[in-house]
């Protein structure tokens, strides 16, 4: 095991981890704002990436505009799901399990729709920042990975600022902590829940777009990303979107460092075993904050 191999693994881990972090942050934001575990969070990533691919190749949009279109598509689908399904079910006091099943059903529907309307082929996006690579101690690092890390850090800081500094962000936090209390101060709790779904869709779509230069996107990618994002969110304590960022990178690192020792095909086995062990041994996530509620 050489130093460059370890360094390479660390970079791969951080890169994958940031993608898991995006999916996990979206999941966590939705859970915090609505107590719904969104089992179709990975589909947001697929929607974002597929829309960007289609806008770029079929409609010939410039790359940045296509990315914006993809993120917008994720946000719109998020808003639609809240308005069309979650709002109605919340009004009827549906149980937590039925929300989980709703999103599982939506995930099946969306992945089948992508198979039907777009086809079973995988698609790749061009890397952001060009094809170039950087050599650090013989470890090869794509420019895209550096952009990914920068965008990841930027988005996390923006999310933090949004939650703590803007009126909408603070209202969303208030509505999620105490819905009745927030309502008495004039916050429209229902609308805040729509916003959390928009935020979740937006983050998921961005994660999907950023991963597509590395992994080709097809209709089956959603479920795997949901699982990894879920793991990231749980590692971070579930109700803390910023914790999900830490959780995602931890998960990515564990995965990529573990496969130096074991065959790479056991990547998922390692990741999910770690998830189960951490859930049992550290019920508040790796940051150890209280306030996690699983049901």
């Amino acid at each position: 095991m050489t130093l460059s191999l370890v360094l390479q693994a660390i970079f791969a881990g951080v890169t994958n981890g940031i993608v898991y972090a995006f999916v996990g942050m979206g999941l966590s934001a939705i859970f915090k704002g609505s107590r719904v575990i969104n089992a179709m969070q990975g589909e947001f990533a697929v929607i974002g990436a597929m829309t960007t691919v289609l806008l770029l190749t079929k409609s010939g949009w410039p790359y940045p505009a296509a990315i914006a279109g993809g993120v917008l598509a994720g946000a719109l689908v998020g808003a639609f799901i809240e308005v069309a399904f979650v709002r109605y079910m919340a009004k009827k006091n549906a149980s937590e399990d039925s929300f989980l099943l709703l999103t599982i059903g939506l995930a099946l529907t969306l992945s089948a729709s992508i198979l039907f309307f777009i086809g079973r082929d995988g698609h790749l996006l061009p890397p952001i920042g060009g094809e170039g690579v950087l050599l650090v101690l013989d470890a090869v690092i794509q420019f895209h990975a550096l952009w990914l890390i920068a965008i990841g850090i930027g988005a996390t800081l923006l999310l933090r600022a949004f939650c703590h500094r803007t009126t909408v962000g603070l209202s969303m936090m208030a509505a999620s902590i105490d819905a009745d209390g927030a309502a008495t101060t004039g916050i429209n709790v229902g609308r805040m829940r729509t916003y959390t779904f928009i935020l979740g869709g937006l983050l998921g779509a961005l994660g999907g777009i950023l991963v597509t230069p590395l992994i080709s996107v097809d209709y089956t990618l959603g479920l795997n990303l949901t699982l990894k994002g879920f793991a990231a969110a749980v590692l971070g304590g579930l109700t803390n979107p910023l914790g999900a960022a830490v959780g995602g990178i931890t998960l990515g690192l564990v995965e990529s460092l573990a496969i130096i020792g074991i065959s790479s095909s056991y990547k998922d086995v390692v990741a999910f075993s770690v998830l189960i062990i951490i859930m049992i041994l550290m019920p508040n996530g790796i940051l150890g904050r209280a306030g996690r509620r699983g049901g």
Binding site: F85, L115, F116, G295
Partner: protein, 317 residues
């Protein structure tokens, strides 16, 4: 009571006559309905009586199927050995994994079982010396019952459904027993149940083990019916479709499990006549059931019956 017995008799006659009047592909689907009923029963017990969402049933289903395939094809042992080996391995695994994992609650438990299913499906794929990987294991013999070969769907139908009825009776007894009372107490208020010295941990583990047993049994039955098993049958998506059985039918009702199993076997088949769009329609049907009928088809049926009875009562007055 009389009319209830009459209904049961009518249902039994229809059940016994069915395989002789339907085409072969429908008889085949009815066999799958029986197999799925057995697998779904276990999940229904967990969901309806313990409030546990089990997304790992495809693991035990796969263990049963591979145990049967390996014992009969690779080792040339009689098929009963495969059934017993699958059941023993599944129950042991469920016990060993269940003890720690069932300490989780709510979503975390659901995620834990989902992760378990993902791990198992990766291992089924990687351990190709045992499972044949994507190529699978073929040539699994049909079951032979005292010299009577169950080679046609119409013959296998009776065998599978008799096993399914036995499992239903076992599940019914479990729910009606002292353990069933403790289960209900635990579901409705786990704190109160614990205060009445119900050992929640061991109770949940026991139901999880029963669920694994049903899953493994269904898997062995599947292996002998399909005579070919490969990793595609035991993925996370299969775990999800198993969970849908009690959800669609109604988790607390045993007939509901049969309704749910009919739904997940027949609906995709009928929709597939409409072409490739059928998967989308199945997803939408599922969403519609979850949104509109939160307590499943049996729950909706029960509400309808109460309403009709109330209306008749009004007329009589």
């Amino acid at each position: 009571m009389q009319s209830r017995l009459l209904w049961i008799a009518v249902a039994l006659v229809i059940w016994a006559a069915l395989p002789f009047f339907v085409p072969r592909n429908i008889a085949d689907l009815l066999v799958f309905t029986g197999i799925y009923t057995i697998a779904g029963l276990g999940i229904g017990l967990l969901l309806g009586h313990c409030g546990i969402v089990n997304l790992a049933q495809a693991t035990f289903y796969g263990l049963g199927a591979y145990a049967s395939a390996y014992c009969t094809v690779m080792m040339g042992l009689p098929s009963i050995v495969g059934f017993v080996a699958g059941a023993a391995i599944s129950m042991a695994l469920a016990y060993v994994i269940g003890r720690p994992i069932l300490r989780l609650t709510g979503y975390f438990l659901a995620l834990g079982t989902l992760a378990l299913s993902a791990i198992a499906s990766a291992l089924f794929f990687e351990w190709d010396w045992l499972t044949g990987g994507t190529l699978g294991i073929g040539g699994i013999p049909k079951l032979n019952l005292f010299g009577f070969v169950l080679d046609r769907p119409s013959r296998y139908y009776f065998f599978v459904w008799i096993v399914a009825f036995a499992c239903m009776a076992a599940a019914h007894n479990l729910v009606d027993s002292r353990s069933g009372l403790m289960l209900r107490a635990m579901r409705d208020s786990s704190t109160a149940a614990a205060a009445l010295s119900v050992d929640l941990q061991s109770l949940r583990t026991r139901v999880f083990v029963v669920c694994a047993l049903f899953g493994s049994l269904a898997g062995s039955l599947f292996a002998h019916h399909a005579s070919f098993v490969s990793t595609q049958s035991f993925g996370v998506d299969r775990s999800i479709s198993f969970l849908l059985i009690p959800v669609i039918g109604g988790a607390t009702s045993i007939p509901g499990i049969v309704v749910g199993a009919l739904f997940v076997t027949f609906l995709p088949e009928f929709l597939s006549k409409l072409g490739d769009i059928h998967q989308i329609l199945f997803g939408l049907a599922l969403v519609a059931v979850v949104v509109l009928l939160p307590d499943g088809l049996m729950g909706a049926f029960g509400r309808l019956r109460t309403r009709l009875a109330a209306r008749q009562g009004n007329h009589a007055r």
